[in-house]
């Protein structure tokens, strides 16, 4: 990339003067680590990194303090006395109404919602993307355009019609219903990603497979799938974070005993009993964010690669 060359700019100009003095060999190669340019570069990055890290730091620190300490100290000071009480409370004891089992129940509910929703939505979107990219037929692009415009429609607008559709199908309030809702709303962006990705694969592969006699599904499973790891990772991350973090559908399309973690979080945070227990709130927040964060940390590198492959090419 460009960058190798630009890195050297400062160094080279620094030495330019000395080399003009004589035709002989110029001086020692200047040290580059503390070049002003590097200081600015890393300085800027570090400042930006601090801005991004600060909230995380505050969350962690606050969640490890007791309430008295929070009331006295400032939010940035490290805990004088580390306590895991808030974590325990957030996970297992915090109450919403009569239920005092914290986030733990919501966690498993979330997992139960997450797994089928991610699997189904990715499966359907990847097949649609594949059909769009490789098996173009009349009207396909029209449906796709509608889908893409659909990505911009505020969810609130769609809630009512969906309630009606699910009611007519008789699956309102069931896990199936929620999975369908997540699939629907994941569809536009995922289909776009998959379509772009499959379109970026060499079309000859597809042609070769057809000549070899493979049909729609054989090509999908035996040729396309094994080549699509990066985009599946992107889709997975998007869906895991999206579905895990979803609040609106979780609250509208489930019932209290199957509330996902975010709803539980909202309940805990908003069920103020006396004073706001910031430490418990922060612990609960961290616990809720943990799953997408872990998924992201583990596969972030593939995410960036996949984004480059699927999103940026239009």
């Amino acid at each position: 990339m460009a960058s190798i060359s630009t890195l050297n700019t400062a160094a080279a100009s620094f030495d330019a003067v000395s080399s003009q003095l004589a035709s002989g060999p110029s001086g020692r190669k200047p040290r580059r680590i503390f070049a002003p340019r590097n200081i600015m570069l890393y300085g800027a990055l570090t400042v930006a990194a601090l801005y991004y890290l600060l909230p995380l730091y505050v969350m962690v620190v606050t969640s490890l303090k007791g309430m008295p300490e929070i009331r006295l100290g400032n939010i940035f000071s490290p805990p004088m006395e580390i306590t895991f009480e808030p974590w325990v409370k957030a996970w297992a004891q915090a109450c919403t109404g009569l239920n005092c089992d914290g986030l733990s129940r919501g966690f498993w509910n979330s997992v139960r919602i997450l797994v089928p929703s991610v699997v189904v939505s990715i499966a359907i979107a990847s097949v649609s993307g594949y059909a769009l990219a490789n098996w173009r037929f009349k009207g396909a692009e029209l449906f796709f355009s509608i889908l893409i415009i659909g990505a911009f429609i505020p969810y609130q607008v769609m809630i009512y019609p969906i309630v009606i559709v699910l009611r007519e199908l008789g699956i309102y309030g069931t896990l199936t219903g929620l999975v369908i809702v997540h699939t629907i709303f994941g569809m536009p962006i995922l289909t776009l990603l998959f379509r772009n990705y499959f379109a970026s694969l060499p079309v000859e592969l597809f042609k070769a497979a057809r000549i070899d006699g493979a049909g729609f599904w054989q090509i999908y499973f035996r040729i396309m799938l094994p080549m699509s790891l990066p985009i599946f990772v992107v889709a997975m991350i998007l869906q895991v974070t999206g579905i895990w973090n979803d609040f609106l559908f979780g609250v509208v399309f489930t019932r209290p005993d199957t509330y996902p973690m975010t709803v539980q979080l909202n309940n805990i945070v908003n069920s103020v009993q006396g004073v706001k227990e910031y430490n418990v709130n922060m612990a609960a927040t961290l616990l809720t964010g943990a799953v997408p964060l872990i998924v992201y940390f583990l596969s972030g590198r593939l995410f960036v690669r996949g984004i480059a492959a699927g999103a940026v090419k239009g």
Binding site: P202, E204, L205, K207, A208, A209, R210, I211, D212, G213, A214, Q218, R222, I223, P226, M227
Partner: protein, 369 residues
């Protein structure tokens, strides 16, 4: 549209009145082509002229807008690719990256549920023919370009097809490998005797491989013939200019009568047409283009009766040959001479032209006279 079409029994592939448009863009128009059994036919043309489109139609990967395609006397216009008895080799190899070479070769057979013993036999035979036995366990990423292309050919080979389709199979290889694989493909054809249809924009490949060449431009076949005919008797200006490197020298001028003999004159210089084998009577006053290939001009040696003066403008030594760019009566002309003969820029030289190997085209219709 014809209602009945007669097809020569010897033909392996017949294309009748084929048209294809993408939306409003017509890529192929009313194309007819018969390819004989066992023939090596090369489709040659510049980029975007519709070669791949035609090949994809034959393969069944594109659906023609109009027309019919017959393979081995069977109308396959609406058949699935796999049912047409064709194998196809792509420029980008199109190997399945996640499968080993062996799996790549056998994929089509496995899809067709051929018994394992049969699969093994065919893979063994193909890999022996192509000498890729040691590579069978490798993934495509672990192969060189040439090896990949060999595997791609193998994939068509195992399927025991009647017709091989090649879409610029060698253009991703470097010059050296290209010439090696060219020889191998030629050898393969000599031993298998299948029908092969080969798309390329490289005239050397076309000239060396083809039994017949079809030269295409804008979706229309300009000339169909064996390489020698195409090289020596191009049917029109386009074919003449397209084949040969460096290009044929073209001189614009007109036919005039000079003491009973017809001559070509241009920029005040006249060329005797002795030895030219005209397809049509030559009429004085007709505006024409004279085409002479660089190797058909003699410089300072073995000069014929008519001698022209020129000076060396640029010299391009190319090892075995030496290419001279000469200034001659306001034209620039390229001449190919033996690589051992060298000239300095600015040297005056004498030329003579071999009219028996030249071509004359009507300036208007651009067709050969």
């Amino acid at each position: 549209m014809h209602n009945t079409v007669s097809i020569d029994k010897q033909n392996s592939v017949s294309i009748r009145d084929l048209s294809l448009s993408f939306g409003s863009v017509t890529v192929l128009e009313n194309l007819n082509l018969d390819i004989h059994d066992g023939e090596f036919l090369v489709l040659l043309g510049s980029s975007g002229c519709g070669k791949s489109t035609l090949l994809n139609c034959i393969a069944g990967l594109l659906e023609p807008t109009e027309g019919q395609i017959f393979i081995k006397d069977k109308n396959v216009t609406w058949e699935e690719p796999k049912d047409r008895g064709i194998g196809m080799v792509f420029q980008s190899y199109a190997l399945y990256p996640q499968m080993s070479v062996e799996k790549n070769l056998s994929f089509g057979l496995r899809v067709a549920k051929v018994p394992q013993a049969e699969i093994d036999k065919r893979v063994a035979r193909a890999s022996e023919i192509l000498q890729i036995q040691p590579l069978l366990k490798r993934k495509p990423a672990e192969l060189s370009g040439g090896q990949r292309q060999r595997v791609a050919i193998g994939r068509a080979l195992v399927r025991d097809v009647d017709v091989f389709l090649f879409d610029e199979p060698l253009s991703n290889l470097d010059a050296k490998l290209r010439s090696e694989l060219r020889v191998e493909i030629k050898r393969l054809h000599q031993s298998l005797k299948n029908t092969m249809i080969y798309v390329t924009h490289d005239q050397i490949e076309a000239l060396t491989l083809a039994d017949r060449i079809a030269i295409m431009k804008n979706g229309i076949i300009q000339q169909l013939g064996d390489p020698t005919t195409i090289y020596n008797r191009p049917r029109n200006l386009f074919v003449a200019g397209f084949i040969g490197s460096p290009s044929m020298n073209f001189l614009h001028g007109e036919l005039t009568k000079n003491s009973d003999k017809m001559v070509f004159s241009s920029n005040g210089v006249s060329f005797s047409l002795d030895g030219y084998d005209a397809a049509q009577p030559l009429q004085a006053g007709r505006k024409v283009v004279l085409g002479v290939r660089p190797e058909h001009i003699k410089v300072n040696e073995n000069l014929g009766p008519e001698v022209h003066d020129a000076t060396v403008d640029i010299e391009e030594p190319m090892g075995a040959d030496n290419l001279l760019w000469l200034k001659h009566a306001g034209h620039t002309m390229s001449v190919r001479i033996n690589g051992a003969r060298r000239f300095n820029v600015g040297t005056p030289v004498k030329l003579s032209f071999d009219m028996s190997l030249a071509s004359i085209f009507d300036a208007e219709t651009e067709d050969r006279i």
